[in-house]
């Protein structure tokens, strides 16, 4: 942790070497986040560039209270959402009544590799994918998602249920392909 603190201090002084070290340390994880939100590799790279640029130019705003990784992650998620908002009109008009609760197959999930999971998440429609990422992975509440995305709480809930349903279907299909049905 002390090493990271020293790097942060050096980044505050615009030390290029420290900036590159911070980038090398966190880029793979942050790129993973960008890829979860954005299907397109170029879009994910654009967001990664913007995100790290913001991190290095606003690093003096990091108070040091929470974890540095958490702070970086929040910037990346926000950048991804901003990019989505700019380039995509979320189609989130499904009502909660039309969606039914679904549960994923835990066993099928267990056998899934990280790469396979990323492909599955990326194949979700933007609206499903965004709510799924925010709720299941980032741990946002439906109320927060609704506020951030400017949608209703029910829409957020329905998007999540539909995302899970679609994921389950895809998992099932994948499982059947793997082991034959």
């Amino acid at each position: 942790m002390e090493g990271v603190d020293k790097l942060i201090d050096a980044c505050r002084r615009n030390d290029a070497n420290a900036q590159q070290q911070v980038y090398d340390m966190f880029a793979p994880k942050m790129y993973g986040i960008c890829l979860r939100y954005l299907k397109n590799v170029h879009d994910a790279e654009d967001v990664l560039v913007e995100g790290f640029f913001k991190i290095f130019t606003k690093i003096h705003q990091y108070s040091g209270d929470g974890s540095f990784e958490g702070w970086i992650k929040r910037i990346m998620v926000n950048e991804s959402l901003m990019h989505l908002r700019k380039t995509n009109n979320f189609r989130m008009h499904v009502n909660i009544d039309t969606a039914h609760h679904v549960s994923e197959n835990a066993l099928a999930l267990d056998n899934l590799s990280h790469k396979e999971l990323l492909v599955l998440i990326q194949s979700l429609p933007p609206g499903y994918r965004t709510v799924f990422n925010m709720y299941v992975i980032e741990g946002y509440k439906h109320r927060e998602i609704a506020e951030i995305l400017g949608i209703s709480i029910n829409t957020s809930k329905s998007q999540l249920i539909l995302a899970k349903k679609k994921l389950r279907d895809m998992l099932k299909k994948k499982h059947n392909q793997k082991f034959g049905s």
């Binding site: 615009n14 290029a16 900036q19 590159q20 980038y23 880029a27 793979p28 994880k29 790129y31 993973g32 986040i33 890829l35 979860r36 790279e45 990664l48 560039v49 790290f52 640029f53 290095f56 130019t57 549960s103 994923e104 197959n105 835990a106 999930l109 267990d110 899934l112 990280h114 790469k115 999971l117 990323l118 998440i121 990422n133 299941v136 992975i137 741990g139």
Partner: protein
């Protein structure tokens, strides 16, 4: 036993992928451009401040110079406002000064 959501979360949080090398170059270029922009901005600010300071100094010197110049002289013809006028009325400064002094002396003893 972990819930499916927990399983998904754990797995998804470990998704990592190294970006292409050119991404860092793009970030580096962007940072350099920003640094250059900041420097240019601070240079402009410095230039503006020095420009404004120069104007102030010029005005101050101008005012000071005006103070150094003799105040309007009085003659029997009236007030002489400037050197040019003074020269027109009377080329001989000594005489003008003398007239002026006479007027001052009159003023002191209460005459016109």
């Amino acid at each position: 036993m972990k819930s499916p959501d927990q399983l998904l979360r754990d797995k998804a949080r470990h998704i990592q992928q190294a970006p292409d090398a050119h991404v860092w170059m793009r970030i580096e270029n962007k940072l350099l451009k920003e640094d250059h922009r900041k420097r240019m901005r601070s240079q402009w600010v410095t230039r503006w401040i020095s420009g404004i300071a120069a104007v102030f100094i010029f005005v101050a010197v101008f005012i000071q110079w005006n103070d150094i110049l003799p105040s309007p002289a009085q003659t029997s013809e009236g007030t002489i406002a400037s050197w040019e006028e003074l020269e027109i009325v009377n080329d001989d400064f000594y005489n003008v000064q003398r007239v002026h002094n006479i007027h001052l002396a009159y003023a002191r003893i209460g005459g016109n």
